[in-house]
Subunit: 101 residues, 2 copies
């Protein structure tokens, strides 16, 4: 952007834009947002999420990896299962999103 009244904060804002879009691109997918929605109610392992969403195990793992990469969820292995939960950032973002409507 060239410099003018509406882009004075451009360096800060363009950084924000990049960060926000990176996050939203992941969250704007219906299955992934549903996963976040499920995790709002508490920790769940992958097989529990499978039952809720009726998606393949592989696909859910991929989605969870995407969500983990942007620090929206964290995982912890207990016995045979891997439990996923929202991070602080995950809680903040999902709370904000569900305020939209």
């Amino acid at each position: 952007m060239s410099s003018c009244s509406c882009c004075e904060q451009s360096s800060k804002e363009s950084q924000q834009v990049a960060t926000i879009t990176a996050l939203l691109k992941i969250v704007s997918e219906e299955s992934r947002l549903k996963i976040l929605c499920i995790l709002r109610a508490g920790d769940h392992c992958v097989c529990e999420i499978m039952e809720h969403l009726e998606l393949s195990q592989s696909l859910i793992s991929h989605h969870l990896k995407d969500l983990k990469d942007i620090d929206m969820v964290s995982d912890e292995k207990r016995g045979l299962y891997v439990y996923y939960s929202l991070t602080a950032k995950g809680k903040k973002v999902t709370d904000l999103l569900f305020e939209l409507y």
Copy 2:
């Protein structure tokens, strides 16, 4: 989802999920979010947005149409130019998004 403690509000939430993802899919694109960012500073016509973003006229028109379809922006023709501005919803959503960081 099957019915259980974490999906009791499922019908309401799954409706929300669909609505939210529909909106985020449009907003999560960098050029479109930049356009919203520009419009936060006030009304702009297409050629002004072009100068800011260095994108083709056609591409910007397509993006603006997408944003208009989800009621984030509105347009008004004055003379030879079409001026775009944020709707109330557009203001609310962008304000919320920029609160994320």
